[in-house]
């Protein structure tokens, strides 16, 4: 039995990176709560329509917006059109993220750029592009998907860890800057979650991780989605600027 957050019904929430992994699970969970899920996509229109239909089958509404998280012009055009013609956006989940695991000594400048541009700059640009809208919307809650790696660092993940740590400073600043308008901003730091991203890790790495997790298992993406719903809802109305680990005790 899932917790029901009644104020999420019809709440308009933009989720980035909703095509798969944690982002998709969040979109599904929000749909089940009756929210209006807005998600961006890059290429394939038919996949976006399929996701829209899958979400609406759970409940609520879903709207795909076509823009790349690294393209500010396309982003602002799509968002302005939506917020002017449909509804203000009162929830944002900055979830889109990429990772390219490689030792620092092999890390190339363009790999650093693409990781920072997507994971950190993309979230910053999107939040910036929505900030005017946030002043008009009510009960705004922003959730930034960081990583436990952003807190503890990790071998072969220097750029990824830096981007995720950057999100924490960003989120805390947004929390302070917009608090007087009742806009909240929080960070979730997932640990080892069963997604495509962690599937690419070698079995040896997975085994080592599992050994260091007190709860001795990987998490289901839905467990992160539940926490996201809580932070987007008024059940967390006095929580802002917070960083919440969901890692089974991996980093204590």
């Amino acid at each position: 039995m899932k917790a029901q957050f009644f104020d999420l019904k019809n709440k308009v929430v933009l989720v980035t990176g909703a095509a798969r992994g944690i982002g998709k699970e969040i979109a599904l969970a929000l749909s089940a709560q009756g929210a209006h899920v807005v998600f961006n996509y890059r290429g394939d229109d038919s996949k976006a329509i399929a996701l829209k239909e899958e979400l609406e089958a759970k409940g609520g509404k879903a709207t795909p917006l076509k823009f790349d998280i690294t393209d500010y012009a396309a982003m602002t055009t799509a968002i302005d059109e939506f917020t002017k013609n449909v509804a203000p956006i009162s929830g944002l989940v900055n979830n889109a993220g990429i990772s390219k695991d490689t030792l620092l000594l092999r890390l190339k400048p363009d790999e650093i750029s693409s990781i920072i541009d997507t994971n950190l700059k993309g979230a910053m640009m999107l939040t910036q592009a929505l900030s005017r809208n946030f002043l008009k919307a009510e009960n705004v809650s922003i959730v930034n998907m960081s990583s436990v790696v952003g807190l503890m660092g990790n071998v072969s993940q220097a750029a990824y860890a830096a981007s995720k740590a950057g999100l924490i400073g960003f989120s805390k600043s947004v929390a302070k800057e917009l608090a007087s308008r009742n806009v909240r901003s929080n960070v979730i730091c997932p640990g080892f979650i069963k997604t495509d991203m962690t599937e690419t890790l070698s079995d040896k790495v997975k085994e080592e991780y599992a050994k260091s997790i007190p709860l001795a298992r990987m998490a289901e993406p839905s467990e992160v989605a539940d926490l996201t719903c809580f932070l987007l809802s008024n059940a967390s109305s006095y929580i802002t600027g917070e960083v919440i680990k969901i890692d089974g005790g991996l980093y204590i």
Binding site: R132, L135, L178, S180
Partner: protein
Amino acid sequence: MELQEKVVKLVSEATKMDAANINLNTSFVDDLNLDSLDMVELMMKMEDEFGVEIPEDETENLKSVGDVVNYLKAKSH
């Protein structure tokens, strides 16, 4: 209602300051203690009321009620 009256009314509603104490010389920062976020919100209200767009970098030059009235007059011509 005249443009100036409308602007004063909006400023009064936004700041909870008696409209009688607001005139063209009233400064947003010095007299009304508005911070930069308050200013953005006030300009958004002006945009909605008068159906104009006030770009962010022009907001910086609007320091008094008179500045806004003049700006809106210029825009409407």
